[in-house]
Amino acid sequence: MSSTRRARRNLLTPIFLAAVLILLVIDRSGLLPGLHTFMPVGFQWLMLLGGVALLLGAFNVVWLHLQRIWGGHRDWPLSLVLIAVLIAIFVAGVVSPSGATSPIMGWVFDNLVAPGQAALFALLIFFVAAAAYRFLRIGRPGGAWMLAGALIVLLVEWPIATGWLPPVLADGAFWFVGGPVMAAVRGLLLGSGVAMLVIGLRLLVGRS
């Protein structure tokens, strides 16, 4: 491909992004009332794109695991199980006239998906405990502050402590979370927002 063609192709992305950006700004500002009739179509396209991307992802997963099975790679039986479950769920959803709300799908969701996801998420408590043990220490730079903050929040979030904790501690924690912590969080959000804006502009003008 010649450098001219490549440059033109590279220019298409920022032009497209700039067009979308301008459309969104105009839509949000309400400068062109007629645009409201067009924007829903755009969002419908976006949803279609999202659906297609989801399907492509599913095909990619199937293809990858079929390769693992055919090649006899490590843990290929797990890939086989994944493909079998995927086909079973797909068939159960397609065959049943009620689709995603069919009893089979409901059973799978209630007895397999929900407990599995909940169990995996619950494992986080172990990492939280290990991290608290290791990192919340007075000896570290700023560790005393982190320790004090964590202990106050933990105590206030502890339901059984509400009976014997002095209200001033709860009020203090409320102020701590709503004041200094939120100031820091908002600072971070503003900083990241400005950074995203700058990166976006750099992308638009081709300086990324």
Binding site: T101, G116, Q117, F121, A130, R134, R137, L151, L154, I160
Partner: protein
């Protein structure tokens, strides 16, 4: 001639010091590689003497681009584990041996929805490096690179506090402590289910926002158009269902037929499950609820970008059921300014601090969060204390109480361990 980045596979000029795509240091790579390696296609991340261990199908292409291999677990593992093991060996020997060849350990668990990623194999209880599957190339400055990598990673946020401890020898005692930490937490969480532990679950604190949320829903009529963003799935349903159930019961009791949207694939099923449970529970209690149209739960693919599409529909009230504050923030940014519907957030306790300023500023008209919010809302709805009768909630609260107690205890023990064992960076 060009250099292929061992990390991301991008092609870089031969004289490049860093990868133009991912920033990987290419100087070590180019120093230890024979000049003709790019033409011969030898795998740069694998020592030549180990090349015969690699299956033929994972030869040239897969070696240069390991992520194309079906059994690839994550390229970040290689420097990560190698660093741990090199440092671990330094601990065992009592000295930091700069010429140790780091060995990649087998990964115990990997990438289950990203939840288990923080596990380092070298810090797992009783875990030792298994048979080396890949040996990284030995180079005179290998230890220096690893040390530099460790510092860069620490500075970039993984362990910011460690980065300030320049020149300190990293001594890992994690293998001694981590099993005990896990055991204590497991006992704390399981104790209520074994009939051990406190039966006093404490009292709920009535945080501001619950009363206004109750009032906003109480003013609705059967004809009110209510939008719901269902932004949680079974992963967080253990807490969120408890918070969402009384609010949903209140909505159905008012005869509202909400339109429910979800951006999560498992969101609609989670919503239907909760609504069915609420209706069944109410039937068992002899009450009657308005029938929610369960088929009205819609999954919207496309993520947060499609949220403005929802704003085309007018609404009297909008409710966001989400475990993360970002879901509420996205609604406030993308939908609320367009359709002008007041917003009530129903969230997990962890999201409360981030969302409370939105309540104070008036962007949220109500905020119900965590067990405290659920108990307060139920008390407003039924004029009773929900924890007094609900055994399931009692168990959950007892588990939460003991888990928090265990974490506080572990923090205290950790500080004592650091005090008596000297200042350590790890374990």
């Amino acid at each position: 001639m060009s250099i292929t980045c061992p990390h991301c596979g991008a092609t870089n000029p031969d004289d490049a010091n860093f990868c133009s795509r991912c920033g990987t240091d290419l100087r070590t790579e180019s120093a230890q590689r024979p000049p003709s390696s790019s033409e011969s296609g030898a795998d740069r991340s694998i020592a030549p003497e180990q090349a015969e261990q690699i299956p033929p199908e994972q030869g040239r292409g897969a070696g240069e681009q390991p992520w194309l291999r079906p059994d690839f677990l994550g390229d970040d593992d290689i420097p990560f584990e190698a660093e741990d093991l090199a440092l671990g060996e330094a601990v065992d020997d009592g000295v930091s041996d700069a010429t140790d060849i780091p060995v990649v350990a087998g990964r115990l668990v990997s990438g289950v929805q990203g939840l288990l990623e923080p596990i380092r194999v070298a810090t797992m209880p009783g875990e030792t490096a298994g048979e080396p599957s890949v040996v990284l190339p030995a180079a005179p400055d290998a230890a220096l690179s690893i040390e530099r990598l460790r510092r860069v990673r620490a500075l970039m946020g993984e362990e910011p506090l460690l980065a300030s401890a320049r020149g300190q020898t990293l001594r890992s005692r994690a293998a001694l402590w981590v099993p005990w930490i896990f055991l204590v937490m497991a006992l704390a969480v399981a104790a209520p289910f074994l009939g051990i532990g406190m039966r006093n679950t404490g009292t709920a604190r009535a945080w501001p926002g619950v009363g206004s949320a109750f009032a906003a829903i109480n003013h609705l009529s059967a004809a009110s158009a209510v939008q719901i963003l269902w932004a949680y799935d079974p992963a967080t349903a253990g807490e969120m269902d408890v918070v969402a159930a009384p609010v949903m019961r209140h909505l159905l009791d008012k005869g509202v037929r909400p339109t429910i949207y979800s951006l999560l694939p498992a969101g609609p099923a989670t919503a239907r499950r909760l609504i069915s449970a609420v209706q069944d529970q109410e039937l068992q209690r002899g009450g009657g609820l308005g029938q929610a149209a369960l088929e009205d739960v819609q999954f919207l693919p496309g993520g947060v970008m499609v949220l403005p599409a929802i704003a085309q529909e007018p609404a009297t009230l909008a409710l966001v059921f989400g475990a993360q504050p970002e879901d509420v923030q996205a609604w406030l940014e993308q939908v609320a300014p367009r359709n002008g519907a007041p917003v009530v957030a129903i969230t997990a306790a962890g999201a409360d601090p981030t969302l409370r300023p939105y309540l104070d500023s008036g962007q949220l008209v109500g905020l119900v969060s965590g067990f405290d919010g659920a108990a307060t809302y139920t008390a407003l709805l039924d004029q009773r204390d929900p924890t007094a009768q609900d055994e399931g909630m009692k168990l959950q609260l007892a588990g939460q109480n003991l888990a928090i107690l265990a974490i506080i205890g572990l923090i205290v023990i950790g500080n004592f361990a650091a005090l008596f064992g000297g200042r350590r960076n790890d374990g």
